[in-house]
Symmetry: C2
Subunit: 279 residues, 2 copies
């Protein structure tokens, strides 16, 4: 099978939505975020595959399958890739590939990258998304979606050299770096640090119960009860991290921030934010 061209966000025609959720999405009330994802995947016709690879709990996948069934999708089922050898299993790959949408649970994002990276699974996920299928992830699952994945880092608002570990992720887009549990775990310092190393990606900091629906035409739409923090470092003038010792404070001037609640949008091509008229 031929690997599709990597979808830089500038050339993503035909791609499915990439949906990043900041963790802790509502599961008892309206389930606004999960409901929107289910609808996106076809609602009553939707087949949703849940990948619990990030989690070490046996029931994580089944819990989400149950939630999606409550939302009246046609089918919601788990596909369990627990070891790298599972990534070669044709039966599991076929289960994955018949889905209209894929949902990656939370847990530890390094379990995703170390279990799926370089196996037929990560390639299948890129294929599916490039072909128009939608891929969502919550918490660790959200971190893994993009090309540059925050593996771990320090808490706090201060950017410091070495305070974040960025590694290779799934690669559905290289245009953004996603962070999650954003306000709850005070992560703006580590996201600023990641962008100081290379200001090319746009930082998306997602609060809990908050999602970024990244459309095929590269508009980020905010859903849920918290804020999306967009960090745009393209116009940065001073960036001291190249000369900073480990642990040193980092100078950054002219970072642009947007704080967007539900209904807000951010265009990744024009780098323009629009807050919703009503919240």
């Amino acid at each position: 099978m031929r690997e599709p061209a990597f979808h830089d966000m500038h050339d993503s025609a035909g791609r499915g939505y990439v949906v990043a959720i900041g963790g802790g999405e509502d599961k008892l009330g309206d389930m606004e975020i999960l409901r929107r994802f289910a609808k996106l995947c076809g609602g009553k016709r939707a087949r949703i595959a849940i990948l619990p690879t990030a989690s070490q709990l046996d029931d994580t996948g089944h819990k989400y399958a149950k939630l999606f069934r409550e939302l009246d999708v046609r089918e919601a089922y788990t596909v369990v890739f627990e070891t790298r050898a599972d990534g070669d299993r044709k039966d599991l790959l076929e289960e994955l590939e018949r889905a209209d949408g894929v949902f990656l649970t939370g847990g530890n994002q390094l379990r995703l990258s170390t279990t799926l990276g370089g196996t037929p699974v990560d390639s299948a996920l890129r294929h599916m998304c490039a072909a128009g299928r939608h891929v969502a992830g919550t918490s660790a699952g959200a971190a893994y979606l993009c090309e540059h994945m925050i593996a771990y880092g320090e808490e706090g608002a201060t950017p410091r050299a070495g305070s974040v570990q960025v590694v290779a992720g799934l690669g559905l887009t290289r245009r953004v770096i996603i962070d999650q549990h954003f306000r709850q775990r005070d992560r703006i310092g580590r996201l600023l640090t990641a962008l100081a190393y290379n200001p090319y990606p746009i930082g998306l900091g997602l609060d809990e119960d908050t999602a970024a629906f990244i459309s095929p035409d590269n508009v980020v739409e905010v859903e849920g009860s918290g804020l999306l923090t967009v960090v745009d470092a393209h116009d940065v003038e001073v960036d001291s991290i190249a000369e900073a010792e480990k642990g040193a404070l980092v100078s950054l001037t002219n970072v642009r921030l947007h704080l967007l609640p539900r209904g807000g949008t951010y265009n990744l091509l024009t780098r323009e934010a629009v807050a919703a008229a009503k919240v």
Copy 2:
């Protein structure tokens, strides 16, 4: 200007060569590596732009311009992007864009990513390469070429969690992670660590005076007096880094290594190595 699709190495038709040099390339003798790059760019017709952004020495760019002139290229000239604001200068971008080949000098790779990342320069370099122009880098310049750039790390043969810092690079390919001064600075531990975080990319460890010429059809050709160490972690069965504490030793089983001298090749699609018949 529309950003080209990111060239995953599986879909790189029409792309130019990506040439990674391990630093310390011969400048007094036959200049085998620089000569091959000059020839690739058109020999007597070649216009080569040298970007000394990684270096903090004033004469680094001029030294390479002089060397390429000794190799009888039509034109070799420096284009100096020293600040992020320089990245918006139309006169400099035009100078860059008329080149048949671009050469990134050594220095500090974080000076490249922090100065050029997210400016029109990194976009222009991706465009040029996608359109068939060739891009070479030595030492820090080599590290920057790929999507996942090793910014810094510890020396030694032992992979340890947290011993390497990977950040976003230029992104001419996401298929490889490049390390340089490989044997001279004993860097196999940090390259193994980078691959443990996500086994997807193929590791290319370049000794000094050694180059990997990555062709548009994804074959790596070795040039120069040292070895290319290819690290293929696709068949890894056990990878412990997801659970490892910072500084802990990392378990990895079934890593495949290839040590290739001049004339050897490695196919990034089939993952097959061929040593040259004669060295």
